[in-house]
């Protein structure tokens, strides 16, 4: 069983509520859900939609073909009809017109007005929608009463009933398989990961699509006893996080490309001063303001090369909400172990895609602080050592011991130096620990066949679509596999080089226009990719699209 519903209209028409109630009902019934959010950079109006794909098996990405369209306005019907399956249904108020026989209109507005609240019009549609799938009101009251007061809840329940009565069941659904799973998006998973890692300080400046990390955290700040500070700008945000981290709390900041641009100098500060810092960089299409609410993966080489001078940083691209959760906890451990900045690379697609995932397991989360609790009296913050890692003690806790951090090149005690020898020692020390960090780098995830004939490559959130694409491709002929990078800097190359030897063709899939992963692979291994499948219009690639292009070139 698998269905795909699109709910579209103008911002402000109740689409969000409709989507969230429907999602929760589906989720709570034990179906797996994958939601794609497509919205414009505005508060009201425009054309926005959600695509809700659900199934009784785990889902990884959105898909193009639709079973049902809920058209809150004419535009939605016109724009998406082309994607409706032959036996699909467009459900809309009577004000929506079409010659297409698949359009089913109901007097949603009229009924909602009768019920006494025209804003429940979308709930009339919800009733009809659920009926199409033969689903009843289980969970409905619970969900509404969580959102609204009694009066409005009752109006909604009434409107729902009216909606149910207007259409007949059309799609068969299974029973669902109830279990404790989460309905969560990428940003929420990052935020939970940070809390699980005992992050105490989050400073950020709002920027789509990163803002929802902050908005989640701030509502839980009291409960979790953390500080969430809205900074005056991104420069302040990163320097605050550095300041907090420098005295010993786990600290983080998050932003999108424009804000990250402003953080670049701070990134270098964390590099030379050896401050553990976690940065979530949730990408959107650039350059500059670009397409603020859409998706892209074009900040990879920027993240890897940002800031003057040379220093180690770890860049982890996030593959899914589960991955986002666990990798965020790991990022804090790595940042502290190697005393360097760790960048979590996500994007709007992953950030906003609410989906069903397995319960996060806190037993799989270790907090490794790497802090020196008993520094000797001749403690030196930047002591040279065999590993390049200097024991890290915290200021304020050890009488007779002071801690100095410095953005200048410095000696072991953190004092500015002009010595060529000390400079060499310190550059080498930092290079050494970064070299060591490579041991902790994880090879890409393998999808489909290991060392396949046709090898697909990807990183970050395209894991979703590659997972589905490879599965479908292998249904015909089992000769496809994919390597999807999570850790991406330093780039792990072992699995790639292994597969490179055996595969006939290598196809790289990215959401950008210059194939940045391909160039990173070339830079690191000298190897060429045979074909790039690129998309850069701000919309996510779909598994179907990947499959089509793969089959095209074969």
């Amino acid at each position: 069983m698998e269905y795909n519903v699109l709910i579209g209209g103008e911002a402000g028409q109740g689409m969000k509520t409709l989507t969230s109630v429907f999602s929760q009902m589906i989720h709570k019934r034990g179906f797996y859900l994958f939601t794609l959010a497509d919205y414009m950079s505005r508060v009201r109006g425009g054309h926005n939609f959600f695509q809700l794909r659900f199934s009784d098996d785990k889902l990884y990405s959105h898909c193009e073909k639709l079973d049902v369209i809920i058209a809150l306005n004419q535009e939605t019907c016109d724009l998406h009809l082309g994607r409706l399956k032959e036996d699909g249904v467009v459900l809309a108020d009577t004000n929506v017109k079409s010659n297409d026989s698949r359009l089913v209109t109901i007097k949603a507005k009229e009924l909602a007005t009768e019920v006494g609240n025209v804003r429940t019009m979308s709930t009339v549609l919800l009733g009809a929608l659920l009926k199409l799938f033969g689903l009843d009101e289980e969970y409905l009251e619970e969900i509404f009463s969580h959102k609204f007061n009694e009066k409005i809840t009752n109006q909604n329940l009434e409107s729902y009933q009216r909606g149910q009565s207007l259409v007949e069941q059309k799609f068969k659904t299974s029973k669902g398989n109830k279990a404790e799973r989460l309905l969560i998006n990428g940003n929420q998973a990052i935020a939970l990961g940070a809390l699980a890692a005992n992050m105490k300080f989050y400073s950020a400046y709002p920027m789509t699509p990163a803002t929802s990390i902050m908005s989640y955290l701030v509502t839980k700040a009291e409960e979790a006893k953390i500080i969430v500070e809205q900074a005056e700008d991104e420069i302040a945000a990163i320097n605050m996080a550095i300041g907090a981290a420098s005295v010993g709390v786990r600290a983080m900041t998050g932003t999108s490309g424009g804000g990250f641009s402003l953080m670049v100098e701070g990134l270098g500060l964390a590099g030379i001063a050896e401050i553990p810092l976690v940065i979530a960089l949730v990408q959107r299409p650039g350059p500059a303001t670009g397409l603020p609410t859409r998706t892209e993966q074009a900040d990879l080489k920027f993240a890897i090369n940002a800031s003057q001078g040379e220093f180690g940083r770890i860049v982890i691209s996030l593959n899914s909400p589960e991955d986002a959760f666990y990798q965020t906890t790991r990022a804090f451990n790595l940042a502290e172990k190697y005393q360097l900045p760790v960048i979590l690379l996500s994007d709007q697609y992953l950030a906003d895609a609410t989906q069903t995932v397995n319960l996060f397991d806190l037993d799989k989360v270790a907090i490794e602080r790497s802090i020196e609790d008993e520094p000797s009296s001749d403690y030196k913050r930047y002591a040279l050592s065999e590993t390049g890692i200097s024991p890290r003690a915290l200021p304020g806790y050890h009488s007779g011991v002071v801690i100095n951090h410095d953005s200048d090149e410095h000696d072991e005690e953190g004092n500015i130096t002009e010595s060529a020898q000390v400079r060499n020692d310190m550059v080498n020390k930092r290079a050494m620990k970064f070299s060591l960090a490579k041991n902790d780098i994880q090879e890409p995830k393998v999808l489909g066949i290991e060392n396949p004939q046709i090898l697909l490559l990807g990183w970050g959130s395209t894991y979703s679509q590659l997972k589905d694409a490879v599965e479908l491709l292998n249904e015909n002929e089992r000769r496809y596999g994919a390597l999807v990078f999570g850790d991406i800097w330093p780039l792990p190359t072992k699995k790639f080089l292994d597969s490179y030897k055996t595969s006939e063709k290598i196809i790289n899939v990215e959401q950008n226009s210059t194939a940045q992963l391909a160039s990173l692979i070339k830079e690191t291994t000298g190897k060429d990719i045979d074909l790039n499948i690129l998309r850069y219009d701000g919309r996510p690639l779909s598994a179907d699209e990947i499959i089509e292009k793969v089959l095209e070139v074969e």
Partner: protein, 280 residues
């Protein structure tokens, strides 16, 4: 002076006003009975900002203009530390101007000592935001055109609770003010006039000496008066506490910080578990 705060070789020019400020700070910390490990001195980049290097406390020398965000976050993270910013006028009011504005509003309990030599010292003599109109430098051959920034009226207009001016040439007075500023519960700014012997040929030691006078009988609770006094400049320059008002500081807004500092509080596994389960 006790040697608890140690003496280091500096990179400052002989005769520079920074020496007196450093000495005053050491005296102040001694008088306040603070141990080196209890204090964190934060600087940006510049001549003044090298101060953390020259005193035996915890130190953070960060980026040009960015001392304040580092300092306030360090304080929020561990409010048992005494956090003091020592940095330049260019650093505080030029590159760092936005943080100056917003940290006044934030009112974290830190102390901000601006070594105001009315010039960019380290980069060799450009005008700074506080350079006077008409000030000729190598970079302003026809004199400065921009109206000088008055940090005191600016701070007052943004609602700062502790606003003072001092002079590096009046060390005892400076030590007094430093003590008051550090003891103040909230953001305290002290603009310290500091001769730069190498690049500021206008606002010299003598220029300041001729003009400064210590405020007497000034009611520092009166905001209107404070504005008036803060505006006095040129012929005469008042030094002292110009405005002081008790008000809640940042950490007072968070109940859980009353027990113990942020760094000593963990988010419990139970809490995280519950938050995760909210998504079920």
């Amino acid at each position: 002076m006790s040697t608890k705060y140690a003496t280091y070789e500096t990179a400052w020019c002989p005769g520079c006003g920074n020496f007196a400020i450093l000495d005053a700070l050491k005296d102040t910390l001694n008088k306040l009975n603070l141990s080196p490990h209890q204090v964190l001195v934060v600087g940006g980049i510049g001549q003044a900002a090298k101060l953390p290097q020259y005193i035996n406390t915890n130190g953070f020398e960060g980026l040009h203009g960015r001392a304040l965000p580092v300092a306030i976050a360090a304080k929020i993270a561990n409010h048992n530390l005494k956090v003091i910013v020592n940095t330049g006028d260019g650093d505080s009011y030029g590159e760092g101007g936005n943080h100056f504005i917003h940290n006044i509003r934030r009112n974290v309990d830190i102390t901000h000592f601006v070594h105001d030599n009315q010039i960019y010292g380290l980069t060799k003599g450009q005008s700074s935001p506080t350079s006077g109109l008409g000030h000729v430098t190598d970079f302003t051959p026809n004199g400065v055109f921009n109206k000088p920034l008055n940090p005191l009226t600016m701070a007052l207009s943004l609602g700062a609770g502790f606003v003072a001016r001092a002079f590096s040439g009046e060390k005892d007075h400076l030590v007094e003010i430093m003590q008051e500023a550090i003891n103040y519960k909230g953001y305290a700014i002290v603009d310290i006039l500091q001769p730069c012997v190498s690049f500021n040929k206008v606002n010299t030691f003598a220029w300041y000496k001729d003009r400064v006078y210590k405020l007497k009988d000034h009611d520092y609770k009166d905001k209107v008066k404070a504005f008036e006094v803060a505006n006095i400049w040129d012929e005469e320059i008042p030094i002292g506490i110009i405005y002081k008002e008790e008000m809640p500081s940042y950490t007072d807004n968070f109940g859980f910080l009353k027990e113990k500092p942020l760094i000593e509080q963990d988010t419990s596994k139970e809490t995280v578990k519950k938050l995760i389960e909210d998504f079920i």
